[in-house]
């Protein structure tokens, strides 16, 4: 098995899906000859041509609107939003049109569309290139929301997303594009099902729920505290919507403690939902208050590096959170 980067897993998924199904096409800013600002689509324009890998204007609303129309027409669009921070102009298209189409048409019309959006901070991106916006979308029934944390899941989830009959928002931890490496099995058609969390580290003292970049950090923090005798179970949520309640509840029934780590703002963030599920359905298994470790409630990621360090969660902050909960 070859060790590849996370972004290579994403690129391979698109390559394979473009080859497998001629209805699949990519649309986004600079995805064509440039190969995307992060090089996720590198080589695809050359391989599949300008009608399958389409450069769009700098207008997210139109990228998604185009995707919805194409999907209704029977195509399988992969829309790239260059930074998740810029997804908001398309919010109306996503929430009011894409998410509701199947329901509104009583199942007659669906929107088999993927929206890829790099998210997350810690890259010196400041206000407009650092946000974690998943919680806006996990509030919307009709959408599926996916966040991979390793190359294998990145590839398998994206291929599943392309084949899903309904809209899937696929958030990519951009700091981890080249930082996160992993083995990619040379399977012909690697698919990772949407809607299943994965236990990425077995443990018995407490459960940490994370996804994307925070999951990558959490695994490292778990190794550090393991040397101190704290046995952490790490659950990679992978799919945020629909939620894999069974895996979450089972883990906490085993460990009795739950720490939820997410990069977005604390208040109204995705971790609040996990916390609520546990409080409602795992109360009698809890041995400690559920805790969220999240980004601070400030309007945006600071550009100054020291302030960015304060703003961002990292391995040592997560390890400290784990220790505090283990000691409770």
């Amino acid at each position: 098995m070859a060790e590849v980067t996370l972004i290579e897993g994403i690129r391979q998924a698109m390559d394979e899906e473009l080859a497998r199904d001629e209805r699949v096409f990519i649309v986004g800013e600079d995805v064509g000859p440039r190969g995307g600002v992060f090089r996720a689509t590198e080589g695809l324009y050359e391989k599949y041509g300008g009608s399958r890998v389409v450069d769009s204007p700098l207008a997210e609303l139109s990228i998604v609107g185009m995707g919805i129309g194409a999907a209704l027409y029977g195509l399988r669009p992969i829309c790239e939003i260059q930074f998740a921070d810029f997804i908001h102009p398309a919010f109306n298209q996503i929430v009011n049109e894409a998410a509701k189409m199947c329901y509104r048409s009583n199942g007659a019309w669906t929107v088999p569309m993927v929206i890829r959006a790099p998210y997350g901070g810690g890259i010196g991106g400041g206000l407009y290139h650092s946000q974690s916006v998943e919680a806006f979308f996990t509030h919307v029934p009709g959408l599926k929301v996916v966040v991979p944390s390793n190359p294998r899941d990145a590839k398998g989830l994206l291929k599943s997303a392309v084949r899903d009959p309904n809209p899937v928002i696929y958030f990519e931890p951009k700091k981890g594009y080249r930082l996160i490496k992993g083995e990619l099995p040379e399977e012909d058609d690697l698919l990772v099902p949407i809607g299943q969390a994965s236990i990425s580290r077995q443990g018995k003292d407490l459960s940490v729920f994370a996804y994307g970049m925070m999951h990558y950090y959490t695994l490292q923090a778990a190794e550090i505290v393991a040397e101190e005798g704290i046995d952490v179970e790490v659950v990679d949520l992978r799919t945020l919507l629909p939620i894999d309640e069974q895996t979450i509840l089972k883990s906490v029934e085993k460990t009795g403690k739950a720490l939820i780590v997410y990069e977005g703002n604390l208040t109204g963030g995705y971790g609040a939902e996990i916390s609520a599920i546990l409080a409602e359905k795992a109360f009698v298994s809890l041995d400690a208050p559920i805790r969220r470790l999240a980004g601070p409630d400030v309007p945006a990621a600071p550009f100054s590096h020291p302030l960015q360090d304060w703003f961002m969660l990292d391995v040592s902050k997560i390890a400290a959170g784990i220790r505090s909960m283990a000691e409770y």
């Binding site: 003292d205 009795g256 009698v284 298994s285 809890l286 000691e327």
Partner: protein, 433 residues
Amino acid sequence: MSIEVRMPQLGESIVEGTITKWLKEEGETVEEFEPLLEINTDKVDTEIPSPGSGTVLKIYFGEDQTVQAGTIVAMLGEPGESVPDSTAIAPVKKAPPTEKPAEAAPSPVKITSASDRFISPVVARIAVEREIDLSQVSGTGREGRITKKDVLAFIEAEPHTAPWEEPGSGELFRPSEEVYGSKGLPPRSSSARAGSVLPITIIRKSIAEHMLRSRKTSPHVTTIMEADLSRVVAHRSEQKASFKRDGVKLTYLAYFVRAAVAGLKEWPIANSSWADDGIHLHSKVNIGFAVSMKEEGLIVPVIKDADQASLLGLARSIEDLASRARDHQLNPDEVQEGTFTITNHGGSGSLFATPIINQPQAAILGIGKVQKRVVVLEAGPDAGNRTDAGHHSDAIAIRPMVYLTLTFDHRILDGAIADYFLNTVVSRLENWG
């Protein structure tokens, strides 16, 4: 918003602190980090800075009060803000226990008795499901909280924590009151069922502390002999009526005290105490005897100068002390200065036991149940005292027998000396008259 001021934990092993001085009074304002109170723990004296700025709204514990670490000792905030009248956590040290143990024993059935530790949902559930008495579980979590791990480890360590609810079959497994009759044994309290908690009374606590201390202090060794009480029984039947005329109940215990006195006189080392500067041989012979107060516990009144008393005097002392012990009427000096102790565990049917030494004494004599048994009476010149005159061959007889067990402090007594002492006691009993 009000700010809680808590007793800090100033070291790993320090669980409580004593407030020595309040530097601010209620109503005064204080700045964050400004010294607010002085505390003393068994290791340090220190000033505690205020955790925030505001007005001292309420001081819950006065000077010289000792509270557990984590206890809210004061509240700060804006003037006029309402704060609770008291904090949930009680001070550690209560007033000296002047009340009688019986009154100090309410019978609440609640999850914890000794402290107000937070019980998490999962711990509460496990405790109910597995019928665990959480007061028996020690907590390793924050501020002594019982964690899920603690309760699971407790179950692992003691799979049979429930009291004797399903006895096994066979004589060995039957409760002694069934085997030996119900004399003296209290019925099992209904509140002792699994899952409930009996509060620890003062007397229970002091017994527990003493027993543990004794076990840790003295290397305990027990030696067992038996005595033929034919002559004692005969003497007692003869004398009982005349003692009764004197208003005294003649019990076997008086004989055992008398025999023990004889042993102590002959082997004074058994009437001693270990100390750093040497073994203190006691000039007085003060014999304590254990009186059961049934479920409440037991107490050991002391017969002072037992070597000066006649059998009548001993019987009278025993009756008087025992009855006042059961009525909680003993004076404090009547349970002190014992130099040797006798425990009559035979009263509840026990044949022999291995009692724990009453510190700082050298030994304790356990008396088993007097029981008629078949014994072999040996003939010959070296025959023991049991052989009746005139028998020239071994014979089988039915005799009232008793096992005497001596638990001694091996620092003071070696096995041989302990046996010599016990032989003297046996000999005195067998040759009564």
